[in-house]
Symmetry: C2
Subunit: 338 residues, 2 copies
């Protein structure tokens, strides 16, 4: 922060900091940027919001993103953060077979963070809702000050009269299908950890900018994923017996579905793309994994990658999978800032 | 943390730390301790929960508590934290005239935090729901690791067919009434800041224990408040024209109600208790401030403290209030740990 109370960060942003404005001023500034929810009956500004739940139920999920374990400001733009916070939560709603209706967003921000970051974050929320879940918007939230930048999003969905698609409904003989990328987000994260750093290993905005240019698809999949949100409802309508969001990698998440359902999942390596190991172990794709009865026509957006069988655990081409069941470089990452 | 991975903190807790257990192990440990929600159709364990919204709408509010700005582990027990996180959010639901139905809870915890703190936190959530909002429970959440202990609760409520009681409905001539304490939480906080510290001014568990013994009411009002949650529905049924939760002090919050409604609020000093200044400025009571048409019988649990008039702003005994409009010693508190 300079003497006039403005700041410039790695992104070249200049302007007031979060700590320079009162909470009310910050709220007035970002409300107009936030996406409106069609389901909103009463929006921000009172003790609580009121949201439509037309079929007498609502789906709810919450997920937190924390600077350090979950993101780096050197790598993610503010827009990326808002986008990913929305997208990752929308995917959980979609994975129940629901249509996302609304979000509430709690932010804890360091005082020295430029207010422009808050603006960009709001724009990212807006653009993610507009592209991935039209009609979904922000109905409320909370702003707080913290030494650590933290984002907690709670997302809501409408089941439109359908039963929720749980993870425990797969049966032997069901076809296993996926909508969305496998391994791309992990490929992007691997690139960022290996080459998005300076000579001392500290996350670098300059290095990340080069990666964004040269490896656009993978880096975007990691920093601003585009999960197939609408495919959740499509799968439910088509009769999916089980579904979940791939947040921790195909092997780990398919294992959860298999365990909950009491089946084995046998995946076909040739359907998992060029890098099978990465497809199996790579997290944060937020793709949708679903099972369908064998007689079902697999709906548009999904592709078959295997079959549920009697037994337990994950197989690849009929052989028990014993590879690394997750990809999380953050886990062992040191505390270098960035 | 000692060499065996266990820990002892100011509360004398010994056992494993949060960082010693996988997220799945932590969840298995706390699920049984969490309160069940009568409105839960599908609880924790899938991508999202499903909650009843019987009248086709739900009320939602979210609030964050952050170690440092909002609480100190030296002062609050883990049970206090769970209790207060629930109570403060339940009060926002109640202030809409709704019955609280469910919570989702996102926690970010330092790795070295004893798991016993998580247990106590869950017990506090459970006990607050049982006492303040029977039938309300936890339907989902998120656990994350962070250098800063942070709690984000999102709470839901059922309007049971009624219109929400907003803050903009007060009319000149309405009676102004309050349910719950005025100034007690601030008195407790003042005691903690002045006498709950060691010789160096650092928050001290030992000093706080003495205060808990000698000033039980005030310290409990600050650390584990008991807002009159059921009074929210009572006020709505009685015909309250406006209502809000007193989180930032009577003067500031009544000012918000006055501004939203386009009226002046004239408070009677003799109805504000022994310490009028503290009643006006003291935050975090989470009492309910409501206005009722003059002909209304003020419902049980509420007491009259003034009247809405034509004009603007806050008056005390007919004179414009120009006192300190909030009480927040955290705001100027240094960064001493504790």
């Amino acid at each position: 922060m300079n003497e006039s109370g403005s700041a410039s960060d790695d992104h070249g942003t200049v302007g007031p900091c979060v700590g320079d404005l009162a909470e009310g001023e910050l709220l007035e500034r970002i409300f107009p940027r936030l996406p409106h929810a069609d389901a909103e009956l009463l929006g921000p500004g009172d003790d609580a919001a009121v949201v439509l739940a037309p079929d007498g139920r609502f789906v709810v999920t919450t997920d937190t993103m924390i600077h350090g374990p979950d993101f780096r400001l050197a790598w993610s733009s503010a827009h990326d953060l808002g986008w990913k916070a929305a997208a990752s939560n929308l995917a959980d709603v979609a994975a129940m077979g629901a249509r996302p209706t609304a979000l509430v967003v709690a932010l804890a921000m360091p005082k020295h963070l430029p207010v422009a970051v808050l603006d960009g974050f709001a724009d990212g929320l807006r653009d993610a809702c507009a592209e991935l879940a039209p009609g979904c918007g922000v109905v409320g939230g909370d702003l707080a000050v913290s030494d650590v930048f933290m984002i907690a999003v709670t997302a809501f969905g409408d089941l439109e009269g359908r039963a929720p698609v749980r993870r425990d409904g797969a049966r032997p003989g069901d076809v296993v299908a996926v909508a969305g990328e496998l391994g791309s987000a992990a490929a992007g994260l691997r690139l960022l950890f290996s080459r998005g750093v300076d000579a001392d290993g500290v996350p670098s905005a300059e290095a990340a900018a080069g990666l964004r240019r040269d490896h656009r698809v993978e880096v975007a999949a990691q920093l601003a994923p585009r999960p197939p949100i609408a495919a959740g409802v499509v799968a439910a309508v088509a009769g999916a017996t089980a579904m979940l969001d791939l947040s921790d990698g195909l092997a780990l998440d398919a294992g959860r579905l298999a365990r909950a359902s009491g089946v084995a999942i046998d995946l076909r390596a040739e359907d998992l793309g060029a890098d099978v190991a990465l497809a199996l172990a790579g997290g944060e794709d937020h793709s949708l994994l679903a099972t369908f009865p064998a007689a079902t026509t697999i709906p548009a957006g999904f592709r078959t990658i295997g079959m549920a069988r009697t037994g337990a655990g994950i197989l690849v081409d009929g052989v028990a999978y014993d590879g690394r069941a997750g990809w999380d470089p953050y886990r062992d990452w040191d505390d270098a800032s960035g």
